[in-house]
Symmetry: C2
Subunit: 339 residues, 2 copies
């Protein structure tokens, strides 16, 4: 039996779903993997911090409005000090992400890995801005840096290539990876205007107040960058992705596609070139002979072209905080059983 002390940075929807999943799977994890765990630290931006070397009650933490009330110690000054003093073996990093530079998550992950903790995140920012640095840091310190939930939630993309497809070279991939644009295009097919469709997506909570991250293709470009950086091992920044959003798609274009039996989808594409990778996010018309045609709403797909298999596609339906949480749990269990 091996015991792991866990720390959490960020304890919103995903952090709480992860805590719930750890509790639900506690007996199974112990029985199947010989692993026990305790939560020794939780740090949040707006709900305080809790530190307890004897273990924080995660049920209570899920319900708590102020985590400070659960703490055995005074809160350290700032998250860097939290990482230094929490004495955890594992850090789950789920602070709010900045796509511009990956901070502060990148800084937290650096600190955790340098202190010899395994570190797992659902934030795309640190992968896009610091993957190779963090991977090297993890190797130096004999720990793992994994990030399954950064693209397509907990669906196994990174881990499949890492653990199931040895000696496979990824040549290209194509995907539908942004659900907001996918939903907007579907609603426009049903006659709604672009603006009305955006307003609907905002109303149901899948689009931000400023929808430009989705509709201008930035979110998709970041996911393409993360996949290319890790799976092709070629650093790629979102600004290096040729990018066109869906603002320019007109009702006439939507109708013209339908006449041809096609649909518009915001496709993500990347392919290896002689000296790197060429990547693109743009609306394309796709026909029913492709697996992209039927991808609706929050469903995502990525189709991989390798040197060893035929086209291999992975589709995930019905994602949510609980599937993102599973990706983080899988990262943890995969990391410690590989060691």
């Amino acid at each position: 039996m091996t015991h792991y002390k866990l720390a959490f940075i960020g304890f919103g929807n995903v952090g709480k779903a992860l805590a719930r999943l750890l509790l639900d799977k506690q007996a199974e994890i112990q029985e199947k993997y010989g692993i026990t765990w305790s939560a020794v630290g939780i740090a949040t931006g707006r709900h305080g911090m809790a530190l307890d070397p004897d273990g924080i009650d995660l049920e209570a933490a899920i319900a708590a409005a102020d985590l400070g009330a659960l703490s055995a110690r005074p809160a350290p000054a700032g998250i860097r000090n939290f990482i230094k003093t929490c004495n955890a073996d594992v850090l789950f990093e789920n602070s709010p992400v900045s796509y511009a530079d990956g901070e502060p998550a990148l800084d937290h992950l650096r600190a955790a890995l340098s202190a010899g903790m395994h570190a797992f995140t659902a934030n795309k920012g640190p992968v896009v801005h610091g993957y190779h640095e963090l991977r090297a840091l993890a190797e130096e310190n004999g720990v793992r840096f994994y990030h399954e939930s950064t693209v397509m939630d907990g669906a196994p993309l990174f881990s499949t290539f890492r653990a199931a497809l040895p000696a496979a070279r990824l040549l290209a991939f194509t995907g539908v990876l942004n659900s907001t644009t996918n939903l907007i295009l579907s609603r426009m097919e049903n006659g709604e205007s672009f603006d009305a469709a955006v307003a609907y997506a905002q109303r149901i909570g899948i689009a931000e107040t400023d929808p430009s991250g989705d509709v201008d293709g930035w979110d998709a470009a970041i996911k393409v960058s993360a996949l290319a950086t890790v799976l092709m091992d070629i650093p790629l920044k979102p600004q290096d992705v040729e990018r066109a959003g869906i603002r320019a798609i007109t009702p006439e274009q939507i109708a013209a596609a339908r006449v041809e039996g096609k649909r518009w989808k915001l496709l993500c594409r990347a392919e290896r070139t002689a000296d790197g990778v060429k990547a693109k996010v743009a609306p394309e018309m796709v026909g029913p002979e492709t697996p992209f045609y039927n991808i609706e709403g929050t469903t995502s797909i990525v189709q991989f072209e390798t040197d060893v298999l035929g086209l291999l596609s992975i589709i995930e339906e019905n994602p949510g905080p609980h599937t993102t949480a599973y990706g983080l749990l899988a990262d943890f269990l995969n990391a410690v059983r590989e060691k």
Copy 2:
């Protein structure tokens, strides 16, 4: 650097494709995984045997009409003696399969595992008839028994659950796993009769002279059994699968489906029950809102329902002996890097 001595039973399309892949990937395998290999034995039913502790030239073996010409030793009497004397670390078992009892592959795999060899197969027979026995035998002997290529060729199904999805419980799955029936149904949609479509499938070499294994759903039932046995850990025999083939589908039914915007597919289904698993292979009408609708020709799909993710589908297009061979290579590399 670790050296592995490889033996092959069966050296037809798949065995030769595996030899080709091993040669093509030799430098990469050495560099990336620190693994070197030599082929010390090849046994076939109709092209003789080769044994050479110093290594058989696989290029020559691929081209050879009689493997005996490449042998450093007289051929042993029978395949059991071949296994005993080849002194390999790894056996790739690709002899012709019997679905009735899994023999002789099952016997070969038992002998290899008992002798301390890792054993890998693309044969569904031994998985359906001996999975739990072979897995236990592998564990006792400190080696691995893997079989990625038994369902959907080299697409990572078994290895994804084994290595990428810890603590995930498979609740149910649905798939289109038999390409012959899929092709026949497509051609019937284009107005061909059942008999003419079967004859076409035979002419292009994807259906057998006796097509009943495919059209009566046996091949699909065997694949369902293999998936349920391994991924749900519940032994399931093909005869326990409720099974209806596609012979009874009439042109009228095909036309009626089209009117509804649907298509007939031979669907494979399994779900956990209170005391085991309920499995079924039968033609069903599917609509374009499902990922099964667009599965054409030799493309396969399986959609997994687990307790931790939304529906997760894996699609493989363009399979062939080279993708089956990749599944065997992946089994080998996964097994030895896990150890």
